[in-house]
């Protein structure tokens, strides 16, 4: 009697634990949140296109057909870190969002980075530039997917100094991103033997750059580095043409440019600009196939920017990881650790990997904007000028101040 009772009790407990364990790992629900700028100066390079890319990733990977429940929500953080964190908090506590995608604007990204670490959620950041996300501010819950200021400085900065641009003047957007880009590019320029002879900070979302451009012109620096992005960069470039800056012998360095910026500038104004991206729709068959499907559903038939391509690529890897784990454990650090174990591979960025500091590495491409007569049609804007292999493109782990990196 006694042994049978104990045996059945033990069996019951074992079965209960087993079933409980199965129930935890077998949760097949995922909620994806795209937090981006839907209405401001960055809304064309992220915005609704990022949400579309996420939608395509969910459809393409096919987990819904395998019995999973995947939800997608998106919100506009309006480039304000406090609004971004409020939305993030509400998403994690109330909406039960598992993963944050895009999160462009370095100020918002750093704020959400802290939130995601605190709440053990996940952020795959495809939009923000600051290299701090995988350096001093690195976290076990964040992966920086597409690009960062170190890579931009390393690729564009070095190429320009090598071509003879040894004196620089910076036009910097006065917030986290501009400061990070100026800092990283200054380091590259100085290391390559150049000099930074001046800089000026302008407020984010400035319409008129004439005053700042005059100061840049007066400095007589060979290169005017634009440490800004989106609407700010296009305004600077347009107005620089008026003041005869390029005609006067100075060169404009676009440290961060997206294809949407070139599209709104037009080839006549943008021709000859050199900058670095990690994705271009016309690079190979894989990128072309994705971009054709994307542009059919995108507003004004636009091609995807590297930020939007990153959302697709990041989500595909996330779903691959969840499938390998057999379910969604709703534990951010655990999933990110597994994501770092698995190499990445998709038609958009090719083969790559995620390092211990959360940095995804892949090759960086130096592009030059075509002249109007070289372009065969709308969105045919870039020619490939150089490639930096993945291992050299990003900050080496030996120089990293990230506590996750074991030295």
């Amino acid at each position: 009697m006694k042994t049978t009772n104990i045996a059945s009790l033990l069996l019951g407990i074992a079965l209960g634990l087993f079933a409980g364990g199965l129930a935890l790992a077998q949760d097949k629900t995922v909620k994806v949140g795209v937090l981006t700028d839907n209405s401001g100066l960055y809304s064309d390079l992220g915005g609704a296109g990022s949400t579309l890319a996420a939608q395509m990733a969910i459809e393409d990977f096919g987990l819904v057909a395998k019995g999973w429940k995947i939800d997608l929500i998106s919100a506009d953080h309006q480039n304000k870190p406090d609004i971004g964190t409020n939305i993030g908090r509400q998403w994690i506590d109330v909406e039960k969002v598992d993963i944050f995608m895009d999160v462009l604007n370095s100020g918002v990204a750093l704020a959400v980075n802290n939130l995601v670490k605190e709440k053990n959620s996940i952020m795959i950041n495809t939009g923000a530039a600051t290299s701090d996300l995988t350096n001093a501010q690195c976290s076990a819950n964040t992966i920086h997917w597409v690009y960062d200021t170190y890579m931009l400085a390393n690729s564009t900065g070095q190429a320009l100094v090598k071509a003879g641009g040894d004196t620089w003047f910076f036009l910097t957007a006065d917030y986290a991103f501009g400061a990070a880009l100026e800092r990283d590019t200054t380091a590259v320029v100085v290391k390559a033997g150049g000099k930074v002879i001046g800089s000026v900070k302008h407020p984010l979302n400035t319409a008129d750059f004439s005053s700042f451009l005059l100061q840049a012109q007066a400095s007589k620096a060979k290169i005017i580095g634009m440490a800004n992005a989106g609407g700010d960069t296009t305004n600077t470039i347009k107005q620089a043409a008026e003041f005869g800056i390029v005609a006067g012998g100075q060169k404009l360095a676009g440290l961060l440019l997206f294809i949407t910026d070139v599209h709104s500038l037009g080839l006549k104004v943008a021709q000859g600009l050199n900058f670095t991206e990690t994705f271009y729709w016309d690079l190979n068959d894989g990128t072309r196939a994705f971009s054709a499907r994307f542009s059919e559903r995108a507003k004004s038939k636009a091609r995807p920017s590297m930020v939007q391509a990153g959302v697709y690529s990041g989500l595909i890897h996330y779903f691959k990881t969840l499938e390998a784990m057999g379910g969604n454990p709703h534990d951010g650090a655990k999933v990110v650790a597994k994501m770092k174990e698995m190499p990445t591979d998709d038609p958009l960025f090719g083969k790559g990997s995620i390092r211990a500091d959360g940095r995804k590495i892949h090759p960086a491409y130096l592009f030059e904007v075509k002249k109007p007569e070289e372009s065969k049609g709308p969105w045919d804007y870039y020619k490939l000028v150089g490639t930096t292999p993945a291992e050299q493109a990003f900050r080496p782990l030996s120089e990293s101040s990230c506590p996750l990196v074991k030295k």
């Binding site: 401001g40 400035t206 004439s210 005059l214 347009k238 107005q239 006067g248």
Partner: protein
């Protein structure tokens, strides 16, 4: 020293946009007692009108300078007839809310179709290039902007303060019943005045299209500063807004030279100071 002169000149150029826009606002407020928050959106519509004229009909800049203000002005007059006229006599707040709502709707519609990156609009060939003034390289187009705005501002001031039509307008807003008794069609005057104010905004939009990207949000960024200009200059004073517009452009330009991080806020700091000392603005009449 040279750099300073250059910044002053650049400030003058920006000031001419402020002056044109605040002139339109001052006309509308002075004549109609409406705080027209839709001004920024109408400025944007002027720029887009110029873009469409070039893109769809091949009509160039010079014609756009005439057609766009008239087209947007007509739109403004329709707005006044259908929506704003019901608010005459009510508290200022109603006009503010209604025009703010109109601005949001118009901007939203344009943003939905055109995104935020902006559309290119080239400087007309006759105005391309620049002059080397010694202390700076002045783009001819920007010099044209200053001269043209000055002329338009002075014409508008003359129209309102020195002609009979202007006298009717001013009388109609001070005492509409009495003026009506004289047989003057007051509602029509009011509609035309609103159209004039809107036309000025659209003209500023066409002027700015070649130098700023034509974006749906271009007005929203500018309108707040323009309101500060109007408040400083005195709500309702025409000459006050013109002078203040240019002056504030210069002050903002100097701030960008000495302490650029404050360039966004210097106009508002000034507004606070003026309001503390003289609430009706520098040259305004008490509301």
């Amino acid at each position: 020293m040279q750099a300073l002169y250059a910044q002053l000149l650049v400030g003058l150029i920006n000031g001419s946009f402020y002056a044109l826009l605040s002139l339109g606002l001052a006309v509308i407020f002075g004549m109609l007692n409406i705080i027209n928050f839709a001004h920024g959106a109408l400025y944007m519509m002027g720029a887009f009108c110029a873009y469409f004229l070039l893109d769809l009909a091949g009509i160039g800049y010079w014609w756009a300078l005439i057609i766009a203000p008239i087209a947007v002005g007509i739109f403004g007059m329709i707005l006044e007839r259908t929506l704003l006229q019901w608010l005459s006599g009510l508290d200022h707040l109603y006009g503010l809310l209604l025009t703010f709502g109109i601005a949001l709707i118009v901007q939203g519609i344009f943003q939905n179709y055109f995104g935020s990156s902006g559309l290119p609009y080239a400087i007309p060939d006759e105005l391309k290039g620049g002059m080397n003034l010694g202390f700076m390289f002045l783009p001819i187009y920007r010099g044209w902007v200053v001269v043209f705005s000055l002329v338009i501002c002075l014409i508008t001031w003359y129209l309102i303060e020195r002609t009979r039509l202007g006298a009717y307008l001013r009388a109609a807003t001070e005492n509409p019943t009495l003026v009506r008794a004289f047989g003057i069609n007051v509602p029509r005057m009011i509609t035309l005045t609103y159209g004039l104010g809107v036309g000025l905004a659209a003209l500023a939009g066409v002027l700015s299209a070649p130098i700023n990207q034509v974006r749906p949000l271009m007005g929203a960024d500018l309108i707040i500063v323009v309101f500060a200009v109007v408040v400083i200059g005195g709500m309702g004073s025409i000459m006050g807004s013109i002078i203040t517009g240019f002056a504030l452009g210069v002050i903002e330009g100097l701030t960008k030279y000495f302490y650029p991080e404050a360039s966004n806020t210097v106009v508002f700091v000034l507004m606070v100071l003026v309001l503390l000392v003289k609430p009706s603005g520098l040259t305004g009449r008490t509301i």
